[in-house]
C-alpha cells in the first residue's frame, strides 16, 4: 500500500489532484482510493486530500496519518496544517516552491519545484495540481507519466487538458533531470 497526502488551499485543485492520482493508479490496474478532508473545501482555506494505491483491495477509510508521500501545493499551509506529520522513514515530500524550503526532515526525500510558475507559463492559471502530479511520477516512480496524462484527460477536456498535460510533462522532465 502506498499512501499519499496532499495539502494545499481551496481553489488549487487539491481534491482533484488526489482524484487524478487515483485514476492514474486505476489505469495501471491497481486499486486506488481518493477522498478529501470532507467539507472544508472553501476558497483559500487549508484543504487536505488523500490517496491510497495498492495491489490489493483497499478497505480502510481512516485519514492517512503515516503517508509514504506528501505533496504540498501551497507552502504557507506547512506549519498550520502540521503537513509533515507522520511521514514514513525515507518517504517523499514534494513541495510547490521555486526555491528550496527548510523542512527539518532528516529522513525524507524532499523535492521542491516551482509548480505554480510552470502552471502560469503553460496553462496561464496558477493551479499547480497537474504539474505536481507530473513531478510526483518522476520523483516516486509509483505511477507512470503516461497514466498521469490519461488521468488529466479524464478530468479535463479541450485546451485546458492539453495545456495541463504539457505542464505535467515539463515538470516530469525537469524533476527527472534534477534527480
Amino acid at each position: 500500500m502506498f499512501q499519499v497526502r496532499i495539502h494545499g488551499r481551496g481553489g488549487q485543485g487539491v481534491v482533484t489532484a488526489a482524484e487524478m492520482l487515483s485514476i492514474a493508479a486505476f489505469l495501471e490496474g491497481k486499486d486506488a482510493q481518493a477522498f478529501p478532508s470532507f467539507g472544508s473545501e472553501r476558497m483559500g482555506a487549508p484543504v487536505v486530500a488523500f490517496c491510497r494505491i495498492s495491489e490489493r483491495e483497499i478497505r480502510s477509510r481512516e485519514p492517512i496519518s503515516n503517508p509514504d508521500a506528501i505533496i504540498i501545493q501551497d507552502r504557507t499551509v506547512i506549519e498550520p496544517a502540521c503537513a509533515f506529520d507522520g511521514i514514513v522513514d525515507n518517504g517523499f515530500v514534494l513541495i510547490n516552491s521555486p526555491a528550496d524550503v527548510e523542512t527539518n526532515l532528516s529522513n525524507a526525500r524532499v523535492k521542491c519545484i516551482g509548480a505554480t510558475e510552470i502552471a502560469l507559463e503553460q496553462v496561464g492559471r496558477p493551479i499547480p495540481n497537474a504539474v505536481l502530479l507530473g513531478s510526483f511520477a518522476a520523483l516516486t516512480g509509483v505511477i507512470k507519466i503516461d497514466s498521469v496524462i490519461k488521468a488529466i484527460n479524464t478530468k479535463f477536456s479541450g485546451k485546458i487538458a492539453e495545456k495541463n498535460v504539457k505542464a505535467a510533462q515539463v515538470a516530469y522532465e525537469r524533476t527527472l533531470g534534477e534527480m
Binding site: 481518493a34 467539507g39 478497505r59
Partner: protein
C-alpha cells in the same frame, strides 16, 4: 465495465441503468453530486423519456415521487439529513400507500448544532416509517444495491431507502464495476404496477381508514416487512448469480466461525473494522475476532443475525447514531435478536458528526471495552472543562 469514479457518480449511473421515468430532488450536501449526476444524464438524453424535476424543497421531492409512482411510473429521489426530516410526513405516506419509490440517503448528521458530516442519525429517524433500508459498505455496493432496490421495491410494493455514508462514500473515488444496460434490463424488467392512477379508469388511493380497520392495515404492513427478508435474500442471490458479485442480501459475515468477539456495524466503517480485525487476529493473545456487516436494517433480520452470532461470547455493536439518554439503537435491536443467549453486548457510539474513526481507536475498544456503552474518542477533558465553566457561571 470497471471505472474509477466518485461514489455519487457511480450511483447516478446505476440509477440511469434502472431507467426511472421521473427523478425529482432538491439538492442538499452531501447528496448533491448524485442528483447533479442524474440530472446531467437526463439532460444528455441518456435516460430516454425520463423527466427530471428540480423541485423547490424536499417535501416537494417526495410528494412528486409519490404522485408519479401512484401514476405507475418508476420514480427516484435522493436526500440527506434535514432534507429527510423535512420530507418525513410524506415518507410515511409513501410506504402506507405501498409505492415502490427508491431513494438514496447520503447519510449526514442532524442539527442542531449544524453539521454537514456523516453519521446515521438521519437514517435512524426513519426507522419506523415503513421503508426498507439497505446500507452500503463501499461504492460498489452502493451502485449494486440501487439496482436491487428497484426490484425489491416493485416486488414488494414497498419503498426502499439505500443509505450510503455522506462524503466517506459519496465523495470518495474508487473502483466500481457498472453492468451493461442489457444486463440490467434482463435483471430489472420495466415497471408494471398492479394498479395505478389513470383518468381512463378512475380510482382513489389513500382513503381514510376508520378505527375498525386501521389496526388490520398496520398489521398487514408489519407482515410485509417480515416477508421482505426472504425477498431481499432471494433478489440478492439472483443479483450475485447474474453479476458475479455478492453485494446484496440481508447481511454478510467475515471470519465469524469460531470468533469469540464479533463486531456488528453498518455502512462504510466496516472496511476499517475488517482491516482492524485482520490485524488483531494476526497478533497472538487477542482472541479471535469476526465481523457481521448488516446490509438490511429494515427489515431487521433477527433470525439470520441470531444464527450468525450464536457462538460468540461477546458482540460489539459499532453504530453512528444513538438515542439521547438511552444509548445504542442498533445495539438494542441486536440484543433483542440474541435474547436468551449468553452473549455480552457492548455498544460503541462512533463517528458522530463525521468524527474520524481510526483502526487504532477501534483496536483499543475491541481489545478491552471500558463498560457496555463507549463513546469512541470522546474528549473527556473538554467535557470536564465545560461542566466546570457551566457550574461557575451558575455561581456554584
Amino acid at each position: 465495465m470497471l471505472y474509477q469514479l466518485e461514489g455519487s457518480q457511480a450511483v447516478a449511473r446505476a440509477i440511469a441503468l434502472c431507467r426511472p421515468e421521473v427523478v425529482c430532488a432538491y439538492p442538499i450536501t452531501p447528496q448533491t453530486h448524485i442528483v447533479e449526476g442524474v440530472g446531467e444524464l437526463v439532460r444528455s438524453g441518456q435516460l430516454g423519456n425520463c423527466q427530471y424535476l428540480n423541485v423547490e424543497s424536499e417535501m416537494a421531492a417526495i410528494s412528486v415521487a409519490i404522485g408519479s409512482e401512484a401514476a405507475g411510473v418508476r420514480s427516484y429521489t435522493a436526500t440527506s439529513s434535514q432534507g429527510l426530516l423535512y420530507m418525513m410526513e410524506a415518507v410515511y405516506n409513501a410506504s402506507g400507500l405501498e409505492l415502490p419509490i427508491v431513494m438514496t440517503l447520503g447519510n449526514r448528521a442532524i442539527g442542531s448544532p449544524l453539521n454537514i458530516w456523516n453519521d446515521h442519525a438521519d437514517a435512524m429517524s426513519a426507522r419506523d416509517a415503513g421503508w426498507l433500508m439497505l446500507f452500503a459498505e463501499n461504492n460498489q455496493e452502493a451502485a449494486d444495491l440501487h439496482i436491487q432496490a428497484f426490484k425489491i421495491a416493485e416486488t414488494l410494493r414497498l419503498p426502499v431507502m439505500v443509505c450510503m455514508d455522506g462524503f466517506i462514500l459519496t465523495h470518495a473515488y474508487e473502483k466500481v464495476d457498472l453492468p451493461e444496460q442489457s444486463e440490467v434490463d434482463e435483471f430489472l424488467p420495466p415497471y408494471k404496477p398492479e394498479f395505478s392512477l389513470d383518468p381512463e379508469n378512475p380510482c382513489a388511493i389513500g382513503a381514510m381508514v376508520s378505527p375498525n380497520d386501521f389496526m388490520e392495515v398496520r398489521y398487514m404492513a408489519h407482515r410485509r416487512q417480515l416477508e421482505a427478508c426472504a425477498v431481499i435474500d432471494k433478489i440478492g442471490t439472483e443479483f450475485s448469480a447474474k453479476f458475479k458479485r455478492n453485494t446484496g442480501g440481508l447481511l454478510r459475515t467475515y471470519h465469524t466461525e469460531n470468533a469469540e468477539t464479533v463486531v456488528v456495524a453498518m455502512g462504510s466503517v466496516l472496511g476499517t473494522i475488517k482491516d482492524t480485525v485482520d490485524d488483531m487476529n494476526q497478533t497472538n493473545g487477542n482472541g479471535k475476532y469476526g465481523v457481521l456487516s448488516l446490509v438490511s436494517y429494515r427489515p431487521f433480520p433477527d433470525n439470520e443475525i441470531r444464527e450468525a452470532l450464536k457462538n460468540a461470547k461477546r458482540v460489539i455493536v459499532v453504530e453512528k447514531a444513538f438515542a439521547l439518554g438511552r444509548g445504542g439503537i442498533l445495539a438494542r435491536e441486536v440484543e433483542l435478536a440474541l435474547k436468551g443467549l449468553d452473549i455480552e453486548i457492548v455498544t460503541v457510539i462512533a463517528g458522530l458528526g463525521g468524527r474520524v474513526i481510526t483502526k487504532s481507536m477501534l483496536a483499543e475498544v475491541f481489545r478491552q471495552p471500558k463498560g457496555n456503552l463507549v463513546f469512541l474518542g470522546l474528549k473527556e477533558d473538554a467535557i470536564r472543562q465545560e461542566y466546570k465553566t457551566v457550574l461557575n457561571k451558575g455561581g456554584a
